[in-house]
């Protein structure tokens, strides 16, 4: 099995889907000749031609709006938004149109499409090249929200997203593009969009995370282990709809829960996980649930390493719930 970076695995997933299905196409700003600003789509225009991989004018609203039309008429568009921070001009098309089309038409019309976009901090991009906007989209029934954290999952989840009959927002943790490597099967395979992944088995504290926070939590777990704390790490990977049974089971397993994400805390994804556990498993809890998150502020630049949850902050929370 070849060893690929997360970025290469996504590139491989795109090519695999495009080889498999002629109706799949990729478009957005700078995805063609340049291969995207992070080079995720490198070589795709060369292999599939300008009909199936092309640049669009500079309008996210236009990109998503036209992708919906393509999807309604027999194509399988993959629309790239250059940075998740620039998705908001298309918010209306995503929230009011793509996500509601099936429902409002009684299932007569659908928009099977994928919106791919790099999200998250760690590249010194400041306010507008660093955000984690998953909570806005997880509040949008009709949309699926997927966040891979390993090369294997990235390819399999992407292919599953492209084949899915509903619109999927595929959030790519840009901090991991070249930072993680792993074995990736050749050819086509899918990772289903209904299950979480247990990253590390443990009996002491359950840590829920996703995307770029997964390696941070793994590093914290290693530290915790030195202090005799055994972490059970769960990568949620499909944030919406979520594998709720899996979450409850993992929470009950240790009775001690930490939730980690880089997005702001208030109304963030961690609030939903905490509420779910409080509703369905409170009697199993041995300690208060702790969230480790970005600050409730816009994303900074120079101090981004303090804004982003790191090993120390995760460890502090793990120790707190463990020792409670």
């Amino acid at each position: 099995m070849p060893t690929l970076t997360l970025l290469q695995a996504i590139n491989d997933g795109l090519k695999t889907s495009m080889r498999e299905d002629d109706s799949v196409l990729l478009f957005g700003e700078d995805v063609g000749k340049k291969g995207g600003v992070f080079l995720v789509s490198e070589g795709i225009q060369a292999e599939f031609g300008k009909e199936r991989c092309f640049d669009s004018p500079l309008s996210e609203d236009g990109i998503i709006g036209t992708a919906i039309g393509m999807a309604m008429n027999g194509l399988r568009p993959i629309a790239e938004i250059q940075f998740q921070d620039f998705i908001f001009p298309a918010f209306d098309q995503i929230v009011s149109e793509a996500a509601k089309l099936r429902y409002r038409s009684g299932g007569q019309y659908t928009a099977p499409m994928v919106i791919r976009t790099p999200y998250g901090g760690g590249i010194r991009g400041g306010l507008y090249h660093s955000q984690s906007g998953e909570a806005y989209f997880c509040h949008t029934p009709g949309l699926k929200v997927v966040v891979p954290s390993t090369p294997h999952d990235a390819k399999g989840l992407l292919i599953a997203s492209i084949q899915d009959p509903d619109p999927v927002l595929f959030l790519e943790p840009k901090a991991l593009y070249r930072a993680v490597k792993g074995e990736v099967p050749e050819g086509s395979y899918t990772v289903d969009l209904t299950s979480l992944r247990v990253v590390r088995e443990g009996e002491g504290v359950t840590v829920f995370c996703y995307g770029a926070m997964v390696p941070v939590c793994e590093a914290a777990a290693k530290e915790a282990e030195k202090n005799g704390i055994d972490c059970h790490i769960v990568d949620l990977r499909t944030l919406y709809p979520l594998d709720e049974e899996g979450v409850i089971e993992a929470a009950k397993r240790t009775g001690r829960v930490v939730v980690v994400h880089e997005a702001p805390r208030f109304c963030g994804y961690g609030g939903e996980i905490s509420a779910m556990i409080a509703e369905s498993a409170i009697e199993y809890m041995e300690a208060p649930i702790r969230r480790v998150t970005g600050f409730d502020t816009p994303f900074p630049n120079t101090l981004e390493h303090h804004y982003l949850p790191d090993k120390r902050r995760v460890l502090d929370a793990v120790e707190f719930v463990h020792n409670y």
């Binding site: 700003e29 700078d30 063609g32 000749k33 340049k34 291969g35 600003v37 640049d55 004018p57 500079l58 309008s59 609203d61 236009g62 921070d85 620039f86 908001f88 001009p89 010194r124 991009g125 400041g126 306010l127 507008y128 090249h129 805390r265 208030f266 600050f295 409730d296 502020t297 816009p298 900074p300 630049n301 120079t302 101090l303 303090h306 804004y307 120390r312 902050r313 502090d316």
Partner: protein, 376 residues
């Protein structure tokens, strides 16, 4: 060529590529003409220094202005002190000319504790309140309606202000462009839209951005006049902008000015343009260099020596290097700035979040004096 609308006649070009006058030159003082060269050269020197710092890993990101000096200096020189300049990525040179201190410019590029934006924005996101150069977001086109609204405010408040609203060719596809031009024309606000057509929006050429060959024609549909000028001809840029600014000031409404120039470098320091454009295209524009052209013009007029650019460059670089040196010594960023300026006062929930954070930072020896917890 001259384009005429109502009573207006704008020269698309005043100097040929060798600095020879081709149209009727306006009356301009010699000292002012020389000053213009210094402004353009300062932009180039600052730009080159910033690229060097980026390559050395001292700063993170640069959106180079190389090749666009005339378009920004020429047009911005037509704005008065009370006028505003709404910018995008590549107008930093105009800010310098209009009053942004070089030290603040460099501090912003370092995103350090001297940066007036407190290191919150990524590099190359300049602002200067004193010369009416507002903070801008990276989100393309959003400043266009802001400029229109501010111009409307100037109109209803009876302020003598014209708003110069700058953006790139790529931004003409944004929602902000279309709402901005439409609202401006309907409300007849004192604004001039300056579209800096540098041929490229990252890797997307103008031919794929729009099906028209003339960005200026987009104005017509909104009911405002649109013009194109040679953006590498500083005098043509200045003359056209002056006419449109004064027209707006006189209450005759907004206009669109397209300055045609070229982005000589990649989109930014992270971009490799050889992947998507021909060397021949770049070489052709190299021959149209706005600085050399203008220096030739001054030389022929007896206003500059043949080695004027070299002499000035040495002087400017010394100035710039001193500023860089000082910025290298900036003190560390105060950690409390993490939670400040979200609201007018730091709310209780952010104080708690900060205190929780600083407790851990202190444990690992990361905090400086002054970074300690907020009283709750």
């Amino acid at each position: 060529m001259t384009v005429a609308v109502e009573d207006l006649a704008l020269e698309t070009r005043l100097l040929d590529e060798d600095g020879e006058p081709v149209g009727t030159l306006p009356e301009l003082a010699d000292a002012w003409l020389r000053e213009l060269l210094v402004h353009m050269l300062r932009v180039r020197c600052v730009d080159q220094r910033m690229l060097k710092l980026q390559r050395a890993g001292r700063i993170g990101f640069v959106g180079s202005m190389l090749g666009q000096e005339a378009s920004m200096v020429g047009t911005a020189a037509a704005l008065g002190e009370r006028d505003w300049l709404w910018s995008g990525l590549r107008e930093g040179g105009a800010a310098l000319m209009r009053g942004l201190p070089l030290s603040e410019y460099v501090a912003q590029m370092y995103c350090n504790s001297n940066d007036t934006a407190k290191g919150r924005q990524m590099c190359n996101h300049l602002q200067h309140k004193g010369s009416h150069y507002p903070s801008w977001s990276s989100v393309i086109g959003t400043q266009i309606p802001h400029g229109v609204g501010a111009a409307y405010a100037a109109k209803v408040r009876g302020l003598d202000e014209v708003h110069g609203i700058y953006f790139g060719d790529g931004a003409t596809s944004s929602n902000g462009f279309h709402s901005g031009l439409n609202f401006a024309a309907v409300w007849k606000v004192p604004a001039v839209f300056v579209c800096v057509d540098n041929g490229w929006a990252i890797s997307v050429p103008s031919s794929e951005q729009t099906a028209t060959t003339d960005y200026a024609s987009k104005a017509e549909a909104y009911g405002l006049p649109g013009f194109r000028v040679d953006g590498n001809d500083v005098l043509a840029c200045h003359a056209a902008m002056s006419t449109l600014v004064e027209r707006a000031r006189a209450g005759k409404g907004p206009a669109l000015l397209v300055v045609e120039t070229y982005r000589m470098m990649g989109h930014s320091s992270s971009d490799d343009p050889t992947k998507y454009r021909d060397d021949a295209e770049v070489a052709a524009w190299e021959r149209k260099d706005p600085l050399r052209r203008y220096a030739r013009f001054l030389e022929k007029r007896g206003l500059a020596a043949s080695d004027e650019l070299e002499t000035l460059e040495t002087r400017l670089n010394t100035e710039i290097d001193e500023v860089i040196h000082a910025q290298e010594a900036a003190r560390p960023m105060a950690l409390k700035s993490l939670v400040e300026d979200v609201y007018s006062a730091v709310p209780q929930h952010l104080r708690r979040q900060y205190n929780d954070f600083i407790r851990i930072a202190e444990r690992y020896g990361d905090a400086q004096p002054g970074d300690g917890a907020f009283p709750l």
